[in-house]
Each structure stands twice: as C-alpha cells, then as structure tokens.
C-alpha cells in the first residue's frame, strides 16, 4: 500500500501530469508509523467551515478542479496552457500557476486584496507587482509555506478564485 506513495514520490509533478504525485508533493501529510498515534488530517477538516468552502479546498488539494491541466488529462491532446494570461506567455495552468503567477487582471486584483497572505512568504510581492515568480525547482519552500499557513482567509482566497 505504501508502495503507491513511494512511486508517487519519484514522479516530478512539474513534468508529469500525475494527480497522485501532485497531491503528494504539495499537500500530503504522511501517516504516522506508530499505530498508537492518532492520524493527522489537514487543518481545514477540523474547522467548522461552510460546506461550499470545504468543497472548494478539497477540490484544490485533491486536483479535482477545473484548471486546464486537469482538463488536459481527460481529453486526448488536451491543451493545458493558461488562456487567462495576457500576451504570448505559455504557462501551464495548474494550481500553483493560478494561485501565484497567473497574470490575469482579475486574479492579480485578488492577490492584491489578499496580499497579507503573500507578503510573509514571497519577498518580491507588492501591489505594483502581484505575481509570485520566485519559485524554482530547487526551492519550493515559499509555496509550501504559503499553502500550509494557518490563516483561515486563505480559504476565502481559494473560494474567490472559483476553483
């Protein structure tokens, strides 16, 4: 059973459109090996959130969203390039792109509105430049910190994005 997760660990979610690997990379909380210990579940499941917000967060975490990368997995030759970004930037529309670096005007407005979620994790973030592009394949820590922060308003940001 653990072999499923060991295999998913070896897949790079940036290069392979694999839901399990993506979930494992960004969100998975590992099972505690000691059987006597209680199992850890994500924080949002402990909160008394409205049903639609909980559904929204679950969909984002479990890759059951409507981003292009998800649609491309279902249709042969599916197109996963973001159609919201202006210009000729060919960015894959996945959750990290949508949350942090999509250049759509409305998404940028949202990031400015929720700037208190971004500022502690992304140094270059400002109202004039509401795009978090300092992510590299070697340093995903800011993104992990952003996604795992204990601020309940993060869920409002997810909801506003209309995932």
């Amino acid at each position: 059973m653990r072999g499923v997760w060991r295999d998913a660990e070896l897949v790079d979610p940036d290069t392979h459109n694999n839901k399990l690997a993506t979930y494992q990379f960004w969100f998975a909380i590992y099972f505690v090996c000691n059987e006597g210990m209680p199992t850890i579940v994500p924080r949002y499941l402990h909160l008394d959130l409205p049903e639609h917000i909980m559904r929204n967060v679950s969909r984002l975490r479990l890759c059951a969203h409507f981003f292009k990368v998800e649609a491309a997995a279902w249709f042969e030759g599916g197109f996963c390039v973001c159609d919201q970004c202006p210009g000729k930037n060919e960015n894959v529309q996945n959750k990290v792109h949508a949350l942090l670096s999509c250049q759509d005007h409305w998404v940028c407005e949202l990031r400015i509105h929720f700037s208190f979620l971004f500022r502690p994790n992304f140094e270059g973030f400002s109202a004039a430049h509401p795009i978090c592009c300092n992510r590299s394949s070697t340093n995903n820590q800011p993104v992990h910190n952003f996604l795992s922060q204990q601020n309940t308003r993060l869920f409002s940001f997810f909801l506003s994005l209309g995932i």
Partner: protein
Amino acid sequence: MGIVFFLQAAREFSSLLSTLHLHFLKDTLGVTQSTTDWAVLQECGHEPLQFYWFRSAVKLFNSMHNTNSITLRRFVQADLNLQPLSNTCWTALLLSAFQGLLGCESYV
C-alpha cells in the same frame, strides 16, 4: 475464497464495501467521484479497508496457531500441510495475499 480474495495486491478497491467507503468520503469532501482514491484516503487519514481485513486475518491465524484447543491446533496444522497440495485451502489463500508486500519473502 471469500474475503481473502480482496486481500491480494492491487485489489484494494475491488470490493463493494471499499467502493461505498470511497463514495462516502468523496461525498463528504464534496469532490467528484473521479478523484484519485488514494489521495482521498490520505486526505481523510484513512487506510484502505484491505489493510484492516489483512490485519484481522493475520491476527486470526496467529491466535488459531497459538490456541489452547488441541482440535483447533490440529485443524490449523492440517491446513498448513494441505497448502503445498492445494491452492484453495485457507493458508494458501492467505499466503497469496502476502504477495506484493514489500519484502514478502521474509513473511511467507
């Protein structure tokens, strides 16, 4: 054959009960039924039902093996002796469930 069939590797989600379990979890989370089963289980902090069945089957086997009842011990011994000759005896089915486990050679 019964429940031991569902203990084998890659049959984690073959049983109706597992399907119902996952439907319930997905409904509770509000995600579509096409969402990855393993991710849903991990999200809810659950193991596949197969894990609990497997553990119960091994516990039952161990307790039968260590029982005070001479009759039951003889029955287990007879089943163990039958295992090389028949694929349908209980011990053979249980051993087949070990296939696919990491380092299964050390358990079988």
